[in-house]
């Protein structure tokens, strides 16, 4: 294990200054509209200092807390996904000349180095899945460009929400890989360890000191406590067989009486990747723009084939989502599509709990599933 160093809290701004000097645009957590959101971060003071996030099914509330920590909350509605898989992307433009000839152009956004501060273990696992999806053999050019220019500063999660279950899925709360720099927040400052050469170079420029044994022990204890405090869990790491063996389980009908089919779970899920293409014609008839928008398997158009919907109702849409997320992903990406962030639970307007649904549907799977890696 890479040895941690210690960054006193009063020097956190140095990290921002270093990233700025290297030409990175800093993105980080901040309070907006009653939630922690990730957006452009001018300086350290915009961080959610002394803020906690209380999350339960269908409910999210910020809380003022009596401390100076910046990362004492689990997560907000989004983190990395919108930064890389843009919710609205222009694919190409078409111009038609007077003779009817077509000219197509694709404008990639100019490269912009971005550094994201405060990335959680769950979001790093989700990023690895989005990479596997979008940066595959036929890589999405816009995603790949933004991904290439991304620097990641992870912060280990010491205050998981009631909705979190990353310990069950195996992603967190500690960060093991995927960052350039990983921080563990304590009252007096941060344990810092580099994950890449870029991260090492950053460390060299920071006023770090050796951590005390007490600081190391405190950090370890907090992360362990974060792990133990989680009470939700999936019935296993691989539910593929169990889900597909239970496609007619009565729970699908029951959950359909509670589900709004609004797609919020999909939109906040850091691994969901569906998109739809739309045409935006110019009114003068000279051309049009092809755009790509986030889509959801809860939308009508998602299952449209030849004038009919394969999934006309909420039952089949919810089943599509869950069987893909926790089932089909194992075939497609070698693991479940769930990273235990709990967003789909907190941000579901009616508080449907994916872990409860999975447990109800796969109740006979829990024994065999425990054996899965």
């Amino acid at each position: 294990m890479i040895a941690s160093r210690f960054l006193p809290r009063q020097h956190l701004q140095t990290l921002f200054d270093q990233l700025d000097a290297l030409g990175y645009r800093c993105i980080g957590p901040q309070v907006r509209d009653g939630a922690i959101v990730y957006d452009r971060l001018g300086d350290l003071t915009a961080l959610p200092i002394g803020i906690g996030a209380h999350q339960t099914p269908g409910r999210y509330r910020l809380e003022h807390q009596d401390h100076q920590r910046c990362f004492a909350w689990a997560n907000g509605p989004q983190a990395l996904k919108p930064l890389l898989f843009a919710p609205h992307e222009t694919l190409w433009r078409t111009e038609r000349d007077d003779a009817g000839r077509l000219a197509f152009t694709r404008e990639l956004q100019p490269a912009q180095r971005q550094a994201v501060i405060g990335v959680r273990a769950c979001d790093l696992a989700a990023l690895a899945l989005q990479d596997a999806h979008f940066a595959d053999a036929r890589a999405d050019p816009s995603y790949s460009r933004r991904r290439h220019d991304l620097l990641l500063v992870g912060v280990e999660c010491g205050q998981p929400a009631d909705t979190c279950f990353c310990a069950s899925t195996g992603e967190g709360p500690a960060i093991s890989t995927g960052t350039d720099l990983t921080l563990t927040e304590l009252d007096a400052g941060f344990l810092v360890r580099a994950g890449t050469e870029v991260g090492s170079a950053l460390c060299d420029a920071l006023p770090l000191r050796a951590p005390s044994d007490g600081e190391l022990a405190q950090a370890e204890a907090e992360i362990e406590q974060a792990r133990l405090s989680q009470h939700r869990s999936l019935p296993g790491r691989n539910l593929r067989e169990s889900l597909f063996a239970n496609l007619d389980h009565p729970r699908w009908d029951e959950v359909a009486t509670r589900c709004l089919a609004c797609g919020n779970c999909v939109a906040v899920c850091p691994t969901c990747f569906c998109s739809t293409e739309r045409e935006q014609p110019s009114i003068d008839g000279s051309g049009s723009t092809r755009v790509r928008l986030w889509d959801s398997c809860f939308s009508a158009e998602h299952s449209y084939v030849h004038g009919r919907l394969l999934r006309p109702d909420t039952r089949t849409r919810y089943r599509q989502w869950l069987t893909h997320k926790l089932g089909g992903w194992h075939d497609q990406y070698g693991r479940s599509g769930c990273v235990g962030c709990g967003r789909c639970i907190a941000w579901c307007p009616v508080g449907i709990d994916l872990t409860a649904e999975a447990n109800a549907i796969c109740s006979d799977a829990s024994e065999s599933a425990q054996e899965a890696p």
């Binding site: 959101v37 509330r61 919108p82 009114i283 009508a300 009616v350």
Partner: protein, 307 residues
């Protein structure tokens, strides 16, 4: 095989003239006409591609003109309008009601739920001078329509996109996505989850760009129900948020009270006991701490107050 969608204006190219566009008005506030009038430069381009034969707000008046495309705002609320919409239909190849009044009756359709005659009699000393049908109806209740564009007012980009699609020979794409998906695409924070605001976004079709949630307020459904709207499920959620049955139903009594799924809710819905639902496990009592109230300074601006 499903039957092909009705032919749009395919022969537009072969007309040897610009297609004719009419914008009609029934009982309405003119807001949908204004939405088109406010299109700016796009309106000028529109005028180059269409022969605008009737558009009262733009000062072009020929109410009897034949049109290739007729946009109609407003509800059918008078005997004269009931007659006129038949004439408009007969003289229009592609009829597209725009806005909540024309697609669901609008706010004036609230009278459909009451005894309109008694209402009028109670307000006017000489009610015999009031020309009003007992109900305010959507255009489609009277004549066949090709496509409805909802909203209060209608979305200017949606109208322009529909017209551009027709010019390209294609049936316009009917928006089906719910407000929630649009809201999330825009990076907005959910007002229902963060404020307990009784937001109709989960069942409302988008077109407005999730406007009200962008201002920290609950959607009140002015674009009307989306496809597969789980109206009763959402009503139940509102009840769990603490709204009494009357207050829940009132959420569906704005511009879209005439929409069939909302009508069904008003007729049939009763709150269920809270036990057994997953949301019942939300520990709202203990989580409504003083910290919650304190945090209003860091949350979105306050209460829902749209009525």
């Amino acid at each position: 095989m499903t039957s092909p969608p009705k032919s749009p204006l395919q022969p537009v190219d072969s007309l040897d003239r610009r297609p004719r566009l009419a914008v009609h008005k029934l009982s309405s506030c003119d807001g949908c006409q204004l939405a088109l009038l406010n299109a700016g430069a796009s309106l000028l381009r529109l005028a180059e591609r269409f022969d605008i034969v009737h558009f009262a707000e733009a000062g072009i008046i020929d109410v009897d003109a034949e049109a290739d495309i007729a946009l109609v705002e407003g509800s059918v609320s008078t005997a004269e309008e009931a007659e006129r919409i038949q004439t408009i239909r007969a003289r229009s190849r592609w009829l597209m009601p725009i806005g909540a009044c024309a697609t669901a009756g609008g706010p004036q359709a609230l009278k459909n739920l009451a005894n309109a005659e008694a209402w009028i009699a109670s307000s006017y000393p000489e009610p015999q001078h009031i020309d009003a049908r007992p109900t305010a109806d959507a255009v489609a209740a009277h004549v066949h329509v090709e496509l409805e564009l909802p909203g209060c007012p209608v979305s200017t980009p949606q109208v322009l996109a529909a017209l551009a699609s027709l010019l390209a020979g294609a049936t316009p794409l009917a928006e089906q996505d719910k407000i929630c998906l649009d809201c999330k695409r825009r990076g907005q924070v959910c007002v229902l989850v963060t404020q307990d605001a009784p937001c109709l976004g989960p069942i409302t079709v988008t077109g407005c760009g999730a406007l009200c949630p962008s201002l920290g307020r609950a959607c009140y459904g002015c674009y009307g129900p989306a496809e597969n709207p789980e109206v009763a499920t959402l009503a139940q959620r509102f009840a769990e948020l603490g709204l009494d049955a009357e207050a829940v139903k009132r959420r569906f009594l704005f511009q879209q009270s005439g929409a069939a799924p909302f009508q069904q809710l008003l007729r049939e819905w009763h709150p269920k006991p809270r036990a057994g639902s997953a949301t019942a496990s939300v520990d709202q009592g203990s989580s409504m701490t003083s910290e919650d109230r304190d945090h209003s300074m860091i949350s979105a601006s306050g209460e829902d107050e749209d009525d």
